[in-house]
Amino acid sequence: MRNIWTIARREIRLYFSSPIAYIVGLLIFLITGIYFVLTIYLSGQAAYTTGSATAPGPDLVIGLMVFLFLFAVPALSMRLMADEHRNGTLELLLTAPIREWELVIGKWLGSFLFVFIIIVITFIYPIVLNSLVTPGIDQGLMMANYLAITLVAAAFLAIGTAISSFFNNQFAAFFATLAVLFFLWVVIGWPAVVLQGSGGIFNYLSMSTHFSSMQTGTVALSDIVYYLSLTVLGLFLGTVAVEIRRWK
């Protein structure tokens, strides 16, 4: 546990001193901020002209954020392991008394905590929204949305960490992660649309199906298990990748 935290702490520090993390963070806040203000403004206008309007829900920016994470996570996770390979520092880490899985989990945890900080900052949107609408927002729905985005971020980052473990070049890791996330988010659900009733398995495998379900406020155990399994699988594959490199 201590090794995991040592590795994670270094990662967080590294994010706060790297321009790419600031750019990613800034873009997320900028895009979600503009979207939030614009939506509030437009529904305010609608209320003014028509006399009443449906207030935006607490899921207002979450849907947009998950879309942004599809691009942000590969940018944040691409260097996690690939850089250690490229710089030779992996040799240093793996000759210290630390196990491969501790290294991989530490790396993932560092990136997850950084993204979690971003998620926590966006809490400002539901708080502002709560003060604008009467009688306030649906707290349960808000929590379900935030739980969903946190679980998605954890799974995305675990996949990113695993893919970064297979590459020496961080840009190759970026595009590979982007492709895999896009596949798991969008493409894998297509057979379900085509096959209708018999395509249930594809629906279950699709990350976006579970997300949409949680976004409506229904938190099923199967959704949580799905995202946690994906996270564990990512971390497991990352560990395997590091071990393969040692044995090669």
């Binding site: 040592t6 240093l92 793996l94 000759t95 210290a96 008394p97 630390i98």
Partner: protein, 308 residues
């Protein structure tokens, strides 16, 4: 402290090291000498617990490098050839990070001690990205010394250093080698001679010679094999020379010169010279023949060289 038996490593179809068996004991500095690509780094990586061997076993302080890798890594200080460092960190933060990974109870103090050993205290707060190659090498060495390891494995520890730094680093290694086990690789023969109690010459993954630097030199340099050239008939002089105590394996070469060998540590050349002159011959040449240490090295590491 270090014991390997039949250590073999294949990279795909290429055999990097082949059946290496050697030992290094406590308080001994063992040099690993060989040309680039001989298998030095591979062997050191296996011993440091970075990669497993394909065949054979290696033990450090009684722990198997594969089965008890974590125990081995706790006891080994390793300086890789390329000295991988985190350039975004300060020297102190980097060493503290490594100290934390090693769970050192008084990390700050241990970092200070290591920095003192490599004389880098003044640069503790400087960023690694701003350090010269020599200083980076010293930070790498500080990292290897941090936890006062029982076994120190140093891959080309003086490469890229200026002459003054080379002297300093060699001094540090010599000091550490008094109490602990040091295995260092180098391709600088004089360095091996100065630092090592024992030298292993490795080529194409095999040990081709193993001895103390002195014996290796005595055995191979050819100082004990001499050529004697006189004016006159060598055949006539030969019985007189062969009578001298210590002269062995005497023969006349096709060019008329005499060649002989003498036992290590007994220099018979003054006696030979005296005998030549007293017998009324003119002495034209009396010199050691054979190879310089560099030539020996090339000889031992050339294609088809015999193994030990």
């Amino acid at each position: 402290m270090i014991r390997t038996t039949g250590l073999t490593k294949d990279y795909g179809a290429r055999r990097a090291i082949d059946n290496l068996t050697f030992e290094a004991n406590q308080g001994e500095v063992v040099g690993f000498l060989g040309p680039n690509g001989a298998g030095k780094t591979t062997t050191m990586r296996i011993l440091a617990g970075y990669m497993p061997p394909t065949l054979g076993t290696a033990q450090i302080a009684g722990f198997d490098v594969v089965e008890e890798s974590i125990e081995v890594r706790r006891r080994v200080g390793y300086l890789p050839e390329t000295v991988p460092l985190y350039s975004d960190m300060t020297v102190f933060d980097y060493l503290k990070f490594m100290a934390d990974l090693r769970h050192l109870p008084n990390g700050d103090e241990m970092v200070d001690n290591a920095l003192e050993m490599v004389q880098m205290e003044q640069r503790a707060d400087g960023y690694i990205s701003n350090l010269s190659k020599g200083m980076r090498q010293r930070v790498g060495l500080a990292q290897a010394l941090l936890h006062k390891p029982e076994v120190l494995i140093l891959d080309e520890p003086t490469i890229g250093l200026d002459p003054a730094q080379v002297v300093e680093v060699r001094g540090i290694i010599r000091e550490i080698g008094k109490e602990r086990t040091v295995l260092l690789s180098t391709h600088i023969l004089s360095e091996a001679q100065q630092l090592c109690d024992r030298v292993l010459i490795i080529n194409k993954g095999r040990i081709v010679a193993e001895d103390t630097p002195e014996n290796l030199q005595a055995r191979l340099v050819g100082a004990e094999r001499s050529i004697l050239r006189i004016r006159g008939d060598a055949e006539e002089l030969m019985p007189l020379i062969s009578k001298i105590n210590g002269v062995q394996d005497i023969k006349i070469r096709p060019d008329g010169a005499m060649e002989f060998q003498f036992a290590p540590g007994v220099d018979v050349r003054p006696e030979v010279a005296k005998t030549v002159v007293q017998s009324g011959f003119d002495l034209l040449e009396l010199s050691p023949i054979g190879l310089s240490l560099e030539e020996i090295f090339l000889e031992l590491t050339r294609d088809g060289a015999p193994t030990k």
